[in-house]
Amino acid sequence: MKEQNLEAHFQAKIDAEIKIEPKDWMPDEYRKTLIRQISQHAHSEIVGMLPEGNWITRAPSLRRKLILLAKVQDEAGHGLYLYSAAETLGADRGDLVLQMLNGKAKYSSIFNYPTLNWADIGAIGWLVDGAAITNQVMLTRTSYGPYARAMVRICKEESFHQRQGYEIMLAMSRGSEEQKQMAQDSLNRWWWPSLMMFGPHDGESSHSEQAFKWKIKRKSNDELRQQFVDATIPQAGLLGLTVPDPALRWNAERGHYDFSPINWDEFWNVVKGNGPCNRERIAARQKACDDGAWVREAALAYAEKKEQKQIGARQTAAA
């Protein structure tokens, strides 16, 4: 088939809601877009382990410690799962990780903010995972099969994460005066970065239009952001916490909450590397990579030796 026909055939499949699978023909740009998006998502899972990992050794009870360990472990699992999905498109995990370390590939900017008190572990589950789920539920219907299926599995675990986060917020907002203050402080710091997670306004996002046509994306950044705000405000009310936005109010006419404009200056600065923890996060991943190099080399050398021995044994047996 000619390239033109291939492309028409590809678009026809997408229009008919048939999933694109790894061996199907696809435009280079579709492949590139997906590799970029899936690997960014994978990097976010891996870097996202750091701010929460911060509190594993300080978790305030054995039960909380077990839940947090399991949650951070899930994130490593999601990272692996997503790198595998990217590899079905011909990418290599090692190369992708390298792009993240040298700054060519991005990860979610939210993880460039610090976790300063225990309530932050609650807020990350409630708000950050909550925002992520809003986006990921949409992605369970994305046009690329392996990505959509990965999202189904990841969404299940993420909704557990969100519940445990909310449960921490609930315990703290019903606790001592100091705990309530921690919970409020944490909401104050995580609210706006969580809204920024959905990305720039639709008109300003460079990849939006084509992503819609290819059904990689099915809702706009602003739609998803509004959906998240609408779902989250009543939850904040139940906690008795104040969302840090004086302009926040229910708009009966629109059937949505109105909220203040986002500080895009801050958003772009954090994207460009000027967030409070950008350097630290990359340095921690770089250190893990460097310190672990000899371990990975040893595992490889050992596997090769073992294989050689098996070949030798088979040859001896055959002779």
Partner: protein
């Protein structure tokens, strides 16, 4: 029941070993040499922390002083902890963490194998369940001793150094304290003299298969079982107990 009954102290000692080693492994989370290792080390941390929790819960059932599992983990100070010195040693490089894990797993495996025959029904049930987890831990750490020992020249050297560095913390595990002698006499706990040769044989086998040398030093450090610890435990507790100490009586 009096808090000082031997069984109560024995449960705490087992719980402390699991808690402190689980804590050390939790420090790796997000920093391991491979994502797969992040998952595996966290898995072991989860198992051990879960075991500690079960043991502390059992201890609180036996002792009606109104203490909770978290009181035991978060409100005791260094001299009240009874874990062996090995498990509180710092992570060091990956070889050191593997050596610590391997030495402990080899002991812990045979210890729990015997504990399944405890005359205390709760402990024997606990041992049956935990042995499944510990069997995996020992397989994991043994495989990594092999990979690092028989991998590259660099990994061989690092693994040998780690085995040497941690060696003199190992004797304490199989040297019975008064409490452990009594537990063995009551058929509640294993006889450590009995399992010692099995532990040594397993360690020897894996180390020689890994083309490494087992250190020959015979002078061993001890003290953990009577609450005399290394400098490291104080820092572990300072970090682990921070919230419970800074905000006493709060629910989290």
């Amino acid at each position: 029941m009096d808090a000082n009954t031997p069984l109560y102290s024995f449960l705490l000692q087992l719980g402390d070993n699991a808690l402190i080693l689980g804590h050390r492994l939790g420090e790796w989370c997000g920093h391991a040499p491979e994502m797969e290792l992040d998952i595996a080390l966290t898995n072991i941390a989860l198992d051990l922390t879960g075991q500690a929790r079960a043991l502390y819960q059992r201890a609180t059932e036996l002792n009606a002083q109104g203490k909770t599992e978290d009181d035991l983990a978060y409100l005791r100070d260094v001299p009240e902890f009874r874990n062996v010195l090995l498990v509180e040693q710092p992570n060091g490089d990956f070889a050191h963490s593997i050596a610590r894990q391997f030495y402990f797993d080899a002991f812990n495996y045979f210890f729990h194998e015997e504990l399944t025959r405890s005359s205390d029904a709760w402990l024997s049930g606990f041992a049956v369940k935990s042995l499944k987890e510990i069997t995996y831990h020992l397989r994991f750490s043994s495989e990594w001793v092999l990979r690092l020992g028989d991998g590259t020249a660099t990994s061989h050297e690092k693994m040998q150094t780690a085995l040497d560095d941690l060696w003199y913390w190992t004797g304490e595990m199989t040297t019975p304290s008064d409490l452990e002698r009594q537990m063995a006499a009551d058929a509640i706990g294993p006889s450590l003299q009995q399992i010692k040769s099995r532990v040594n044989d397993r360690v020897n086998d894996v180390v020689s298969m890994a083309t490494l040398q087992l250190p020959t030093g015979t002078w061993m450090q001890s003290g953990g079982k009577v609450g005399r610890h290394t400098e490291h435990l104080g820092f572990i507790l300072a970090e682990m107990q921070f919230l419970q100490r800074a905000y006493p009586g709060n629910e989290w």
